[in-house]
C-alpha cells in the first residue's frame, strides 16, 4: 500500500510540471506558432481567403519583389521608424536631463507627460486629426495667432508632410514614457563622478559626453530598441485612424498595405508573403532586443 502510494506520488510529481506548462503551451501554439506557420504556408498559394487555394510556389514572393507599392510602403516604414526613434529618445532624454535636478513640480511633470501612454491610439489619432484640421484645428489657429502664419501646412493633406504629422502623434504619446526611463537611469549615476570631473575642469558638454552617456548606456539601448520595434509594428493604428495610407500613398506603411492587400484586393497569399518579408526585417531588431533583455537572466 505504502509503496503504491509512493509510486503514485512519484508519478504525480513527474507529470506535475507538464500539467502546469500545458495551458501556456497550448495557447501559445494555437495563437502564435500556428498563425505564423499558417502564414508562411499560405504565402506559397494563390488565395483570396475564401475559395480554394492554389499552390504557386514562390511566385507570391516574386510578385512582392516587383511590387513598387510595397517597397515604397517599406520605405515609409523605415522613414517613420527613424524619425520616431530619434525624436522619442532625443526629447525624452532632453526632458529627463531638464527635470532630473528639479525639486519643485517634478511629480506634476512626470504625471502629466506620462498620461498619453495610457490613451488608445484611436482616441489620440482622432483627436490629433482635429488638431491638424486646416479650418477648425487649433494648430493652424495657434500659428496664425502668434504670427507664424507662414508655417501653416496641410498637415495631413500634403503628401510631403503627412507622414511626419502622423509620426509626431506617436512621438507625443511616448515622450513621457521615455523620459521616465531616462530619469531612472540618470538618478542612478553617482554624483561623485560629476564632482571629480568638475575638479578636473570638465565643462557641461564634456560631463554629459564622458560621464552621463556611458553611465546610462544600458538604459539608452533599451529605449532605442523599444522605440524601433514600436515604430515598426505599432504604426498601423495611427495611420489607419488618421490617413489610411493617403494622401497619394504618402503614409502607406508595410502593415497598412498588407491589410489592404488581404481585405481590399483579396490577395491573402501575397499579403502573407509580405508579412514574412517584414518579419525577416524586424527579426534582426527583435533578436537584438531579445538578447539585451535576457542578458542578466542566466539560465543554467
Amino acid at each position: 500500500m505504502v509503496r503504491e502510494r509512493q509510486r503514485n506520488g512519484k508519478l504525480v510529481n513527474k507529470i506535475f510540471p507538464y500539467c502546469m506548462t500545458a495551458p501556456a503551451i497550448i495557447l501559445f501554439v494555437l495563437f502564435v506558432i500556428a498563425p505564423f506557420i499558417y502564414g508562411l504556408y499560405t504565402s506559397f498559394f494563390q488565395w483570396d481567403g475564401l475559395s480554394e487555394m492554389k499552390y504557386i510556389g514562390t511566385q507570391n514572393y516574386s510578385f512582392v519583389f516587383q511590387d513598387k507599392n510595397y517597397w515604397s510602403a517599406l520605405g515609409n516604414t523605415f522613414k517613420y521608424a527613424l524619425v520616431v526613434t530619434v525624436l522619442k529618445n532625443g526629447l525624452g532624454l532632453a526632458l529627463a536631463l531638464l527635470i532630473v535636478k528639479q525639486v519643485r513640480g517634478k511629480g506634476l511633470f512626470r504625471t502629466s507627460l506620462y498620461m498619453p501612454v495610457t490613451f488608445s491610439y484611436v482616441v489620440i489619432g482622432v483627436l490629433w486629426t482635429w488638431i491638424y484640421n486646416p479650418t477648425f484645428g487649433i494648430l493652424n489657429s495657434f500659428l496664425t495667432k502668434v504670427g507664424l502664419g507662414s508655417l501653416i501646412q496641410g498637415w495631413l493633406s500634403d503628401p510631403n508632410v503627412a507622414l511626419y504629422s502622423v509620426a509626431w502623434v506617436d512621438i507625443w504619446k511616448w515622450i513621457g514614457f521615455h523620459m521616465v526611463l531616462y530619469l531612472a537611469g540618470l538618478q542612478g549615476v553617482p554624483n561623485e563622478l560629476y564632482e571629480a570631473a568638475e575638479i578636473d575642469g570638465a565643462g557641461k558638454f564634456q560631463k554629459f559626453w564622458s560621464i552621463t552617456l556611458p553611465q546610462i548606456n544600458g538604459i539608452l539601448v533599451v529605449n532605442v530598441l523599444l522605440a524601433i520595434t514600436g515604430a515598426f509594428v505599432n504604426n498601423y493604428n495611427l495611420i489607419n485612424v488618421m490617413t489610411d495610407g493617403g494622401p497619394f500613398g504618402s503614409t502607406e506603411v508595410a502593415l497598412t498595405y498588407i491589410v489592404r492587400t488581404a481585405f481590399d484586393y483579396r490577395n491573402v497569399g501575397k499579403a502573407n508573403a509580405m508579412s514574412m518579408i517584414l518579419f525577416a526585417i524586424v527579426l534582426v531588431i527583435g533578436f537584438l532586443q531579445f538578447r539585451v533583455m535576457t542578458k542578466e537572466d542566466n539560465y543554467e
Partner: protein, 277 residues
Amino acid sequence: MRKKKVTIGSVFRWAILLFFLVITIYPVIWMIFGSLKTTGDFYTNIWGIPDTFHISNYIEAWERGGLGRKYLNSILVTGLFLLIIIPVNCCAAYVLARVRFKGRKLIYMFLLVGMMIPAGILGMPTYSVALKLGLVDSVWGIAFVYAGQAVSFGVFLMRSFYVSLPQSLEDAAMIDGCNRFQSFVKVVLPLTKPGIMIQVVFSGLNTWNEYFLSSIMLRSEEAKTLPVGIMTFVGEYSTDFPQMFAALTAATMPLIIIYLLAQKQFIEGLTAGATKG
C-alpha cells in the same frame, strides 16, 4: 554675474518644460471643452471654454454609438483575458523556474520565441486561424487570441520573480505537509504580487486599447470593443463634431481617472513591463 546666468538658464528651462506640459495637457482639455459645445459654438469658438455646457452631447453620443455595449465588451475582453493569462502564466513560469524536469529548458526557450514575433506580423494569419476555429467576431474568441499572444512576455516576466525567491521557503512549506502545488499557491504566489501587478497593468492596458487585431476580427456591432466602436462612430457621424468629441471623452475619462488615482502603479507597471519583457 554668476547669479544672473543661472536665472536665465532656469527661465529657459522652465519655458521648455511648460511648453511640453501645455502641448501634452491642452489637447485633452480641448477635447473635453469640445465635447460640451454646441455645433455652432464649436466652429466659432475654437479655443475657449464652452458658452453653455451641452451635456446632451454625451447622451446622444452614448445612444447613437451604442457605447454601453462597447464598454461592456471591452470590460469582458480585458477581464476574461486577465482571468486566463494570470493563472496560466504563473503556473508555467513557476515550474519553469523552480522544478527540475526533463525538457524544461526546451519548453522555456520555445515559449520565449514568441517575444521575437511581433503581433503586427501575426495579424493577417491570426485572422485566418481564428476563422478556422470559429473565434472571429466573438468577444470570447478574441480574449483567447490575446491570451495566447501574451504568454511569452508573461512567462518571461513571472519567471524572473520566481527565480529570485529562496528555496528554503518552499522546503518549509513542504515539511509542513504541503504538496508542490499547495506550496506554490499558498507560499510562493503571494510573494510575487508585484509581478502579477505588472502583468495586470501592462498586458491589461494593451488589451484594453488594442485596435489592429480587433479591427480585423470584430466586425459586428454586438462584438465591437471600445476602440473599434469609437472608430466606427467617428466614420459614421464625422459631421457632428461635438458628439464625436463627447464619445472620445466618454471613452477616455475613466482611464484618466484610474490613472490619476493609481499613477504610481501605472508608471511602475508599464515601465517594468516594457523593459522586462
